[in-house]
Amino acid sequence: METNVLWTLATRFALLSLFAVGGANAAIPEMHRLAVDIHHWMTDRQFADMFAIAQISPGPNVIIVTLIGYHVAGVAGAIAATLAMTGPTCVMAFLVGRVWERFKTAHWRVAIQVGLVPVSLGLMAASAYVIAGATDRNWMSAAVTLATAVLAYFTRINPLWTFAVAGALGLSGWL
């Protein structure tokens, strides 16, 4: 049973990583679909909690897979999910990195780069949609989301401050 769960975690995240065009934030909806809708590993709310923990932790945002893996299968799950999410694409990065210079001005390379930008932007917007759906259950938390978006857009505020204020608002029972 245990090995089956680990195998599922590893294969699912390895496959997901290969489609993570635009990085970890673009892959959030698919992680949510896997963890909440398909495998019922966790609730919507727990997924949003893990997103929050990953955001306040130092390091790359992809570290949310470590939390999901731990939740599903303990430390072994954390290791399996993290390796699966980073391993295949790292091998690819290593191999492509050696020949990349050669294609600096290749037409196909420019086309792929330009073409994928709007796709990954759409995916990142979908991530915001999915997390907002799991988080913003009332108009107060929606207001916090909106206020943070405006603040982050117009100022260069350190995100940790917005987390501190929003966490305190949550603690106070306003949200």
Binding site: I53, C90, A111, V117, P118, A149, A152, Y153, G170
Partner: protein
Amino acid sequence: MEEESPAPKSPSLFELFLAFSACSLSGFGGVLPWARRMIVERKHWMTADEFNEAFSLSQFLPGPNIVNFSVVFGARFGGVAGAVVALLGLMGPPFVIVTILAVFYAQAGNDAVLGRILAGISAAAVGLLIAVVVKMCIPVFRRGLHWAPLIGILAFVGVGPMHLPLQWVLLVLAPIAIAIAWVRP
């Protein structure tokens, strides 16, 4: 303008590990700015252009960008060993921290107070993500890529409200988007 960089220095494996752990541990809400500061401005391991070039490759490939970048950067200075060491530096320390947080969450996750705090943080984190997406959209509009908004909206609707598998959406949309970019650069 970036100042002329002094003679390029090659980091040792240990320096690679330390540099990437330091960036990773400073990187709240994104490691990239720290990595750039470290590599281009402080250590002069790469020029600004070299950095952009290496990072564009990391964005080009699937997977977490900064993770790809650590491999590309590490490989350039230390081959396979360099790539592994940079990756370990980037992922090792946050892995340990987050696993500890996961243990704590497994025990206290049902606690109502913790739940309220995390709900607040999550609401703010979504706001930050929205701001990033909007900022990234602006240069796309400036470049006059008129087809881009339609592709972006289709990706959003498919993966967001429609809950379609990411693979399907990408296998349909990516070739179309790349084909359009090919014909109308």
